[in-house]
Symmetry: C2
Subunit: 644 residues, 2 copies
């Protein structure tokens, strides 16, 4: 085939350890630089570069250096060897080279057109780390943290809107992006750019679905720092978290959509199968995630008489919490479901139930642990994205497709936000004002999930072109939109400096700052919320946590023996009141875990009821038959429930 080449000897096994160390050191170095830069920026109150943007920038520079500074020193490979004896690639290959046996591990299948692209630069190869690390180790803590730190109260108040944006919005976005890029692809075919490529409408839809995952981590960080209006924050946060889940499952469903005949024609059977897949995978992942959380809640709740509670061993408790949450992700992946969706709902459920059972020590440990892991993983991922622009070997930069991609993404975002906001405002009593809509439109950043979905499959040429385009869109949105958040907030006259605790109370006294319609407010999707809340408060909370009324009072009388068995002994005593207060405190404490300032949650809660005057469901308003202590608890606060 080709002449023999001399390769760097790889005899010294130690070299490999050291190389592993060098790679990690490069990442460490980039992260240290990022942290120092951010510190500098924070000192000067520069808000145009968030740490994720910084990490990406440094990654980019490092990628450039690795690409062009280390190239000369390495030998070029790219030689393909024949092996007629094999019919398929085995996981491990033993090769006899000059009387010495070497073991090789299967890495991947390569299309012929990618072979020449291989640079054989060892450093470059090493820096493009294993995708399984990316998916199994870096992503789960970020997603879990998002679920675990969800501002539950605000989230549920806006549940209807969030679900609409997440499900309907993602579907719209996917279809619009798909259609626009398909138009561009047709144009490219027309001018003869894509000769010999297979590029179907499903590929465009695939691109559409992966580009629909928004990741406004930068925006939300700035919102948080500036204390932007909580409702806007919640809408954006809720939307982005859920639409990641939707986009991931959608992408998977589209990638396994296989029409029988003409791949461009519509195949109803295959389409409905994909829809079925979507629903099945989503529901399955949801169930997997929540059930792990429920198991954790049950274990941490165990109150067998002979047993000391797990919460007396904070380390074991934290360990178990961590491992079970991670297992939710891994089990879902292993079962062919979507781990990210599972771990998201696991996080939400853990925060809702298990968190209440943890010891104070573990509460803080878990919060801080996941916060830290989120911080690190996020920066590593953004750093890696920066690196990928130069270290990924098979980029296909097609200006027309890139232009098409950008157009499609912005149009799709507009088609998602404005029409849906209009529809939602028909039903919502508390309208989503125009400036909020513009801000949501502007906050459609693409980040880790879009990148992750794009890099997962880069085998064919269309997929490589999509990956390149996705990467550029991520860069642009994170830097430009992320950096433009503060000016945009000013320009749109969105209220900042809202103390989350004072937020809604302030709204009641000074109506000038915000143009929300407050007098006719009524929690949207209140009926859905009410049903769920009642069930949760009456049955699930008492079974899974120490809070809520004793089951004996909520279950029908004939269930009493079972109820007594399931109820925590402590739920009967005078601990009741404390528990509930505790719950409220925890509830707020958890959701505001970035805050260091002290706050008075009970007052806040009542304050919110005062302020909006809406039928905000009160801890204890529902299903509290024989639960008289609750009244005492809220009695101290003035009640101005205007509509209730």
């Amino acid at each position: 085939m080709e002449e023999l080449k001399k390769y760097v000897s790889v005899k010294d096994e130690d070299r490999f350890y050291h190389q592993g160390a060098v790679e990690l050191l490069v990442f460490n170095f980039l992260l240290i630089l990022t942290i120092l830069t951010i510190w500098l920026f924070k000192n000067h109150r520069f808000r145009f570069l968030h740490e994720t943007g910084g990490a990406m920038l440094y990654g980019l520079v490092m990628g450039l250096i690795i690409r062009y500074a280390t190239k000369a020193s390495d030998v070029e490979s790219g030689t393909v060897y024949e092996c007629e004896k094999l019919t398929s690639g085995p996981p491990t290959l033993l090769i006899n080279i000059t009387n010495q046996v070497y073991e090789y591990q299967y890495k991947r299948e390569i299309s012929h057109h990618n072979v020449n692209g291989h640079q054989g630069n060892a450093m470059l190869q090493k820096m493009t780390f294993d995708l399984s690390i990316f998916f199994n180790i870096l992503l789960p803590p970020i997603i879990f943290h998002a679920g675990y730190s969800l501002k539950k109260r605000h989230f549920f108040r806006n549940l209807g809107s969030i679900l609409t944006y997440a499900f309907l919005g993602t579907a719209i976005s996917c279809i619009v992006i798909g259609l626009i890029t398909y138009g561009f692809v047709k144009a490219m075919v027309h001018i003869g750019q894509l000769k010999g490529w297979e590029f179907h409408f499903t590929d465009c839809l695939f691109f559409g679905s992966l580009m629909s995952a928004t990741d406004p981590v930068t925006v939300l960080a700035i919102f948080h720092e500036l204390h932007v209006d909580t409702d806007l924050y919640t809408l954006l946060f809720g939307e982005s978290v859920l639409n990641d889940a939707v986009a991931i499952v959608l992408t998977y469903s589209i990638s396994i959509y296989s029409p029988k005949e003409n791949p461009n024609a519509f195949d109803a059977a295959a389409f409905f199968q994909s829809v079925g897949n979507f629903l099945g995978i989503f529901a399955g992942s949801f169930a997997m995630g929540s059930s792990y959380a429920v198991v954790t809640a049950l274990i941490s709740f165990t109150h067998l008489t002979k047993f000391t509670k797990l919460c007396e061993f904070p380390m074991l408790e934290t360990g178990l919490f961590f491992l079970l949450s991670w297992s939710a992700f891994l089990s879902a992946e292993a079962a062919g479901l979507t781990g990210i969706v599972a771990v998201l709902f696991c996080g939400v459920t853990q925060a809702h139930y298990t968190y209440n059972n943890l010891s104070p020590d573990s509460k803080m440990r878990t919060k801080q642990l996941f916060e830290f892991m989120n911080f690190l993983a996020e920066n590593v991922i953004f750093c890696y994205m920066g690196l990928a622009l130069f270290t990924f070997q098979n980029h296909i930069f097609n200006p027309l497709f890139i232009f098409g991609g950008f157009v499609a993404v912005f149009v799709a975002r507009a088609c998602n936000i404005y029409p849906l906001s209009f529809l939602l405002n028909l039903g919502r009593k508390q309208k989503i004002p125009r400036n909020f809509q513009h801000m949501m439109m502007f906050s459609g950043l693409r980040g880790a999930i879009a990148f992750a979905l794009a890099i997962r499959d880069t085998e064919s040429q269309p997929k490589q072109m999509m990956f390149t385009t996705a990467l550029l869109i991520v860069f642009f949105t994170v830097w430009v939109f992320g950096g433009g958040t503060t000016p945009m907030l000013t320009w749109l006259q969105i209220r900042v400096g809202v103390d989350p605790d004072e937020d809604l109370k302030a709204e009641a006294t000074s109506q000038s700052a915000s143009n929300l319609d407050k007098n006719t407010t009524k929690a949207e999707s209140a009926w859905l919320f009410r049903i769920w809340y009642g069930f949760d408060h009456k049955y699930l909370k008492p079974i899974l946590t120490h809070t809520g009324p004793p089951l004996t009072t909520t279950l029908p009388e004939w269930c009493n023996p079972v109820a007594r068995l399931l109820t925590s002994p402590s739920a009967y005593g005078d601990q009741l009141k404390d528990d509930d207060t505790d719950y409220i405190i925890n509830n707020d404490e958890l959701t505001e875990n970035y805050e260091s300032s002290a706050h008075i949650p009970v007052q806040d809660r009542t304050g919110s009821t005062q302020a909006t005057g809406k039928e905000d469901i009160h801890e204890g308003d529902l299903g509290l038959g024989g639960y008289k202590l609750q009244l005492e608890h809220t009695a101290g606060q003035p009640q101005i429930n205007s509509l209730a």
Copy 2:
């Protein structure tokens, strides 16, 4: 060569993600099981199985299952293919198999005699995870935690003894084990068991050095739980931590010992080169580790007027602390030094300087983070050790060598502890009693480091036999000695239930419980300690932390301009007193970070001076020329420094 074989298709790339998930899930499952078991055991106050022992047991069972339950389903490989075109193994190999290109990654070189041992069981292959993960990710947090949680005061009080055990003891242990196993090897050669093997005395010394790393994690956990005498605890902890470092560098020095001519003859030049290597690597790693810690201390201490301090951003601070500490390890590895030694001394230095500069939030975060990482990593490693017995492919069980190994390890431990204790007792005023010596002898468990050193090189047959033997010794010592700790403590009548805070105070009032010689106590190595302490207190502490006297008072007058520049502005004000009290609190708080009970450090500290009546150097006794506040600070406490 051989006929074609059908292999499992590896086309579906997703399969690989899922498999990564399955592996991790297996480990998670084992760890969850371990935690639940330990919880159960703690409830019943069983102390015969520590979590590490439990993790190892479950790993063993899982290894058994993977080995024998999944074997049938997999295809057997072990076929060696010829490739005449290559002269050396390239890092990446592209192979054309039935017109499809596959990429293979270099894994390792295999000796011919190991080829047949390969089972080709994919699950088995996957479970024997990458050694670079083991070394770069799992080991550093354990070692760092050991350094970070060192009980500094007790450690320095016993510094002389600890250094003697660690350096001299490890050397003795290495030589004794080497000699005894060499005897056994000679016998094995005599009866014809090792035909065709190359087995030199240096190989035996290699085995001796790796088996000299003691890891009494189980014993120390039980000591801690039972509150065993602090001096015994410190001696064992200090010895094991330092002797790991010594053993690692020793092993490396021996492995690169290369006599020019006859490998069995003594080559003075090569020997001294090895000694030089040892000293160079040890000193280099020490310097690397401490300098990273000093950099961290300086960054966290920065007090430029324009800058807000880093400690106002606890997340950035924790992140930087974590990354710089890990970088110490990685840099040392990348530079060809010993990362574990570097990260150990980095931990000690971080605890000594940086810890004082951290915000209260970060103090807790870092402590809890490393405690948690230590917990997880330790259990993963022990779990992996259990697995390795069945998943490692090339075990060589040689009963005679195993017997020899056991004998050698016990004899060497005895030759280390008893003679050295005797010598130390000649110099020590506070003797090491016989029952302490027996307990130290008994606590010579082998663990993670011995395993890590043994698995690092398993290419030749002698090394494989050593690995197998080392693994069995680890199992035996962890289970039998670890489990026997509590009975042994009772049998040796060693005092338990000592409150660390009350410890030395109690000693003064009731002399019955311990047979330490108290009236003639004088801190051993006091002179060494004094010199270091004075320098540290006068110059290093003021430069690197907020504590200690202002540099202007400790440096000669002509240095005043420099001193003023380097001294923290806060060191001049009335904050001084608080700072110093703070330091003392931190000092104790850190060293007792497993304790949850409240304690009164100032009293404790004075208590200790009262109790032992030794020349324990007081915070403020040294070099405090113009530092009058210090006197006020200690004036409130009764001073009974009998000898000072």
